[in-house]
C-alpha cells in the first residue's frame, strides 16, 4: 500500500516535471546534464523513503568518488612524485652528477610505502607498523610546535590584545570560562562550577552560530540544485 502511494507520488512529480518542461521549458540537449538531473532526482527520492533509485545513486556516488580520488592520487602523488622524478625528469641528477640524497629521498619512502603491502601476508604483517610509525611519529613531531604557536600563543595573544570595552571583557570571560568547562581534573563545584556553567552558555552560543551557518550552507546547496534542475536541465527559469 505504502509502495503504491510512493509510486503515485513519484509519477505525479515526474508528470508535473514533463508537463512543465514541454509547456514552458527549453530542456537541455546535453546527455550529461540529463544524467546529472536524473541522479539528482534519484537522490531526492530519499525524502519519501529509502528506495532503489536512491540506493543506486548512493552506491554510484561512492564508486565514482573513490575512482576519482584514485586517479588524483595516481596523477598528483605517484606520477608527479615517484614515477616522473625517477624515470622521466630524473631530479636526482643535478649538473650531470648523481645525488644520492635526492635519489634516496624518493626511493626510501617508496620502499617504506611498499612495506604497507605486508599486511596482505600472514607472517610479515607486522612490517606495516614501520611505515605507520614513520608517518605517525613524523606528523606528531611536526604538529607540536605549530600547534603551540597557532592554537595557544596566537589565540592567547588575540584574546588579551584588545581595547578596554564591554565586548572585550566578554571575550576574556568567555575564553576563560570555556577553558574552565573543559577542565575535568577537579569537580565542577562552587566557583569552578559556576564558571563552568557560564562556559556552557558561551559554548551553546558558538554551537548555535555554527548550526545556523550549517543550515544556511545546506539551504544554499539546495537552492543551487533547484537552479540546476529548473534552469540548466528544464530551462523553465531564465
Amino acid at each position: 500500500m505504502k509502495e503504491r502511494k510512493g509510486l503515485i507520488i513519484g509519477s505525479v512529480i515526474m508528470i508535473a516535471i514533463f508537463v512543465l518542461m514541454f509547456i514552458k521549458g527549453e530542456p537541455s540537449k546535453s546527455i550529461m546534464v540529463w544524467i546529472a538531473a536524473i541522479l539528482t532526482l534519484s537522490i531526492y527520492s530519499f525524502l519519501y523513503k529509502d528506495n532503489v533509485f536512491y540506493k543506486f545513486a548512493e552506491h554510484l556516488f561512492v564508486g565514482v568518488s573513490v575512482g576519482y580520488s584514485v586517479s588524483v592520487v595516481w596523477q598528483n602523488a605517484f606520477i608527479r612524485r615517484v614515477f616522473d622524478p625517477l624515470f622521466i625528469t630524473r631530479t636526482y641528477i643535478v649538473n650531470d652528477k648523481f645525488s644520492l640524497y635526492l635519489f634516496l629521498g624518493i626511493v626510501i619512502p617508496t620502499l617504506l610505502g611498499l612495506l604497507m603491502l605486508s599486511i596482505f601476508t600472514k607472517k610479515q604483517a607486522w612490517l606495516i607498523r614501520i611505515p605507520i610509525a614513520f608517518v605517525v611519529g613524523s606528523y606528531a613531531g611536526m604538529g607540536i610546535a605549530p600547534s603551540f604557536q597557532a592554537n595557544i600563543f596566537e589565540q592567547t595573544r588575540s584574546t588579551l590584545y584588545v581595547t578596554l570595552s564591554i565586548s572585550a571583557s566578554i571575550m576574556i570571560v568567555g575564553v576563560i570560562s570555556t577553558l574552565v568547562y573543559f577542565f575535568f581534573s577537579k569537580e565542577h563545584k562552587g566557583l569552578l562550577g559556576k564558571t563552568a556553567n557560564l562556559g556552557i552558555w558561551f559554548i551553546m552560543i558558538a554551537f548555535g552560530a555554527s548550526f545556523g551557518y550549517t543550515v544556511m550552507a545546506r539551504i544554499s546547496l539546495l537552492i543551487g540544485r533547484m537552479q540546476f534542475l529548473l534552469h540548466d536541465w528544464l530551462g523553465v527559469i531564465k
Partner: protein, 231 residues
C-alpha cells in the same frame, strides 16, 4: 623487536621534526620539504590499502549474497570505470589515449578529460544533492533534538535563529527602522565576533593542548594504539 623498532622510528622522527622547526637554516628547510614529499609518497600506499579494503567489503557482500548485494556491483564497476578513465585518460590534462579518441571519434570534451566530465556531471551534482538533502533532515532533527527544554537549549536555538535571520535580506529589512546598534546584521556581527569567538578560542586552545599531549605521548611511546594488537 616487532614493537620496539616502530616505537624507535616514531621517537626518532618525532624528535627530529620538533628540532627541525627551531632551525631556520636552508638545510633544515630543505629536509622539511623532503619529509613532506616522503609522507605524501608513503600516503600513496595507504591509499592502496583503503581502496583494497573497500573492494574486499563489496566483494564479500557479493560472495555471500548479503541484502543489497547487487548495489555492490554498481560501486565496484563505477570505481573501476572512473579509475581507468582517470589513470589512462589523464586526470587534469588529456593523455595520448584521450587525444586519440577525440581525434578519431570527433568528441568534444569541454572539461579536457573524461575524468573531469565525470567529476562535473556526476560527482559534483551528486555530492551537492547529498549535502542539500541534509537541509531537510537537519531541520527535523533540530526540532526533535533541541526542544527548548533548558536555558542552554534556548540559547542555542535563539543564536541559530538570529544568525540565520541576520544573514538574509529579510533580517536587515525587519530591523531597518531601529537604531543602528539594533540592526540584525550588526547584532549577528557582534555575536560572531565576541561570544562565539570566545568559545571557539577556548575550544581551539583545548584542541591545541590535546594535540600536543597526544603527540608527546606518541613520540615517547606512551600511546601505542596505532601499532595495533598482537606482539
Amino acid at each position: 623487536m616487532r614493537r620496539k623498532i616502530p616505537l624507535a622510528i616514531a621517537f626518532v622522527f618525532g624528535i627530529i621534526m620538533i628540532i627541525q622547526f627551531f632551525i631556520p637554516h636552508r638545510i633544515s628547510v630543505e629536509f622539511y620539504r623532503n619529509m613532506l614529499n616522503a609522507l605524501v609518497i608513503v600516503g600513496i600506499f595507504y591509499y592502496i590499502l583503503a581502496v583494497s579494503s573497500l573492494i574486499r567489503v563489496h566483494r564479500g557482500k557479493i560472495k555471500r549474497k548479503k541484502p543489497g548485494w547487487g548495489y555492490s556491483y554498481v560501486t565496484l564497476i563505477s570505481l573501476v570505470v572512473t579509475a581507468v578513465i582517470g589513470v589512462l585518460g589523464g586526470a587534469y590534462q588529456a593523455t595520448r589515449i584521450t587525444s586519440w579518441f577525440v581525434q578519431h571519434f570527433h568528441w568534444q570534451i569541454e572539461q579536457g578529460t573524461g575524468l573531469m566530465v565525470i567529476y562535473t556531471y556526476i560527482q559534483i551534482p551528486m555530492g551537492a544533492t547529498m549535502f542539500s538533502l541534509l537541509a531537510f533532515f537537519i531541520a527535523s532533527a533540530a526540532f526533535r533534538a533541541f526542544k527548548a527544554r533548558s536555558l542552554t537549549a534556548v540559547l542555542l536555538l535563539v543564536t541559530a535563529f538570529v544568525v540565520m535571520l541576520g544573514r538574509v535580506p529579510i533580517g536587515a529589512l525587519l530591523t531597518r527602522r531601529l537604531p543602528e546598534i539594533f540592526h540584525l546584521t550588526n547584532i549577528v556581527e557582534w555575536i560572531l565576533k565576541y561570544p562565539n569567538m570566545a568559545a571557539q578560542r577556548g575550544i581551539l586552545m583545548g584542541i591545541g593542548l590535546g594535540m600536543i599531549a597526544t603527540s608527546l605521548k606518541i613520540i615517547l611511546g606512551i600511546e601505542r594504539g596505532y601499532l595495533g594488537g598482537g606482539d
